[in-house]
Amino acid sequence: MEGLPQIVRQRLQAGGSTSAHPDADVLTAFAERSLSVRERTSVMAHISRCSDCRDVIALALPEAESAAVAAVSSHGWQIGWPVFRWGFALAGVAVLAIGVLQYQQHSRHSMVAQREASEPMAVSVQPAAPKASAQQAEAKQPQHPLSLTKVPSRDEGKAPTASAPSSSSHVSSFSHGALPGGQVVSGPNMPTQWQQQRQQQIPSRLQALGGPIASPGAAGGGVARTSAQTQVAPADTTNSRNVEVSGGLAVNPAPSAPAMFDNSPSIGKAKAAPIQPTPVLTAAMSTPRWSISSSGGLQCSFDQGSTWQDVDVNAPSFRGAAYGYARQEVEVGKARAKEKSSDKKAVQNEISAPVFRTVVSNGADVWAGGTSGALYHSQDAGTRWDQIIVSANGVVLTADIVGLQFSDSLHGTITTSISEVWATSDGGKTWQKQ
């Protein structure tokens, strides 16, 4: 901290206040930030010169909130923390699940790779994977016969009778041991074009090999079923040779599909799991009551007012931190705020938590207004908050918001401490000053 030249201290001290001290009432309202701008200015002018009143305000600061402002933000953390913790735990589970599946995938690939150590053609199909759209599938078609022909030829070369049992046992060890002698059908979640194409091609190729196979329909059905579940194929229809075939397929179209689709369902599942508890929470918290504390903090109660929780509208998300998008929304709001009012005051208010004066709710629609034009809106009962910058024709609302009225989710009015009335008829997107 830069020191202050002694002469400055001296001259600051010298200019004492001459005006009468403000009433206790007014000083209290000053500290609680509930004065109109005009009054606040005059009180500020007084206390800038009156050490007694500065002392009174400082001594009369409320307890418990040592570093009140910091505490406000840490409130958000306290609320957010359990949510974060869940988020971390679930993220961990998701990562683990992906890891396990990829390991499976990898081991199967390496197994296959072992079997076809010098098989470049299979690799050539891999880039096709990600967006297996119809066009791409068609574009790949010329390649498939190639890879398919190669694979069987490899199988042929490797004496299927020997390799088949070993590979199937190898695979089943990674297939959760779900089925005794469980066999893996590897090309799971393929687009139908691929399946059809494969079903058409497989028989001919395999027949060309002279190998006994199950009917294409059965194989396709097996594939379809496994793609929906894990990669464990029902051990009903196929024999070891059939497994060998599908194992071969894993290398051909599979490098495209499994690499991608094996993971995506697993991500989907891991993601679906964390989200499941949330609807329960939301249901329990569906009708909170809202209030403003004496220090201007926003509070809500999920038990009809018995206990109150502080709500930090700047927190990434009040009880939905698992949703990544909440933070984005808030940041968008902040960016907007910065754009619109670059003056220092606005930036200050943005850093500190807003001091609220009034809150209204209509179902899940909650509006909270406070000092210096702070207006926050939540459409989901307080999970996410958007700061609304109220402006009309380039004029921005900067006064304290002391009253809010919303007849429905679209139509509402704001009353400010300097008696402006602002109205919206589109849920806060645009405002008219009256």
């Binding site: 202050l4 201290r9 206390i47 050490s51 009369a60 009353t415």
Partner: protein
């Protein structure tokens, strides 16, 4: 004439909002009738609103008022037992805690709180009736905050002098006493420095000046100042840094304009610190403090209210 017009404007707004405010204030349990509540509101409104206050602003003023706490305080002042019961349940403990935090010492805290209780209950008799300090509460801020403020005022009035003496004693124990005891003040080496400084200070906004004074003169912490002004601590820290730099620069520039070379100006600004410290000590020990928060004003207001 315009004053009467204003009062009637307040009255019309009060009449307009009375039903809603009366309901909001939950007056019935504490024995405040609709009529007496209207009178209280009119009195509060008349005190706040000036001649040209537009009706909308009056309306906003009443809407923002903490009418429930106002009704409670006034009911207590009027001696309603039900109101006192509520008041004591809600605030008794808090009041002692606040006093302890302000006085930082148990016996002083007790004395402070007891004094306030006496004032609140109204030991001062005027024309045979008690005058409670609660009658001066107007609902602008929270009642709890008001109680703390009143405690703090009381403390500043009563204990400030003692505190100052103590701190000076402590200071002398720390070795500052080796200074010459209060010599004739060295007239500031150069009145140009004072002028340039005053000029720079005069350009400060009230808020900037408050922040500077609270930090450098009152010795408040960043956190305290932040809470006083309702902004974030880091804002205060940045502001102080910026202000100190800007002031230094402006004073240097001012001295330059007054014909000093850069080096002279810098030297002048780093004037012997002890001279100024002595100066501050003198001003601290002088009885130059502004008049204390006067009981008179409270009484005057009460008179105004009942009249």
């Amino acid at each position: 004439m315009s004053a009467t017009k204003q009062i009637s404007a307040v009255e019309s707004v009060v009449n307009d909002l009375l039903t809603e405010l009366h309901r909001k204030a939950a007056c019935e349990q504490i024995g405040v009738t609709r009529e007496s509540f209207a009178a209280i509101l009119c009195q509060v409104g008349a005190k706040h609103c000036e001649e040209q206050t537009p009706e909308q602003e009056i309306r906003a003023f009443f809407t923002a008022l903490r009418v429930d706490e106002l009704a409670l305080a006034r009911a207590c002042a009027a001696g309603e037992n039900a109101a006192w019961e509520i008041f004591l349940t809600r605030y008794r403990e808090k009041l002692y805690q606040s006093a302890l935090r302000i006085a930082r010492e148990d016996s002083a805290a007790r004395e402070l709180a007891d004094t306030l209780y006496a004032d609140l209950y109204g030991t001062n008799l005027r024309e045979g009736s008690r005058v409670s300090k609660l009658a001066s509460y107007t609902g602008r801020g929270s009642l709890e905050g008001w109680l703390r403020t009143v405690l703090a005022q009381e403390y500043v009035n009563r204990y400030r002098r003692t505190k100052r003496l103590v701190s000076l004693d402590e200071e002398s124990e720390e070795g500052v006493q080796f200074q010459a005891p209060d010599p004739e003040p060295v007239p500031s080496a150069d009145s140009r420095l004072e002028q340039a400084t005053d000029e720079a200070i005069a350009q400060l906004s009230a808020e900037d000046r408050t922040v500077l004074s609270a930090y450098f003169l009152d010795g408040r912490t960043l956190a305290e100042i932040a809470r006083m002004l309702g902004v974030h601590e880091s804002t205060i820290s940045r502001k102080l840094d910026k202000l100190a730099k800007a002031l230094r620069k402006q004073i240097l520039a001012g001295l330059g304009r007054r014909g000093m070379s850069r080096r002279q100006a810098e030297e002048a600004m780093e004037v012997d610190v002890r001279d100024i410290q002595l100066d501050i000590r003198r001003s601290l020990t002088q009885d130059s403090a502004p008049p204390p928060f006067s009981e008179e004003r409270v009484k005057a207001r009460v008179r105004e209210g009942s009249g």
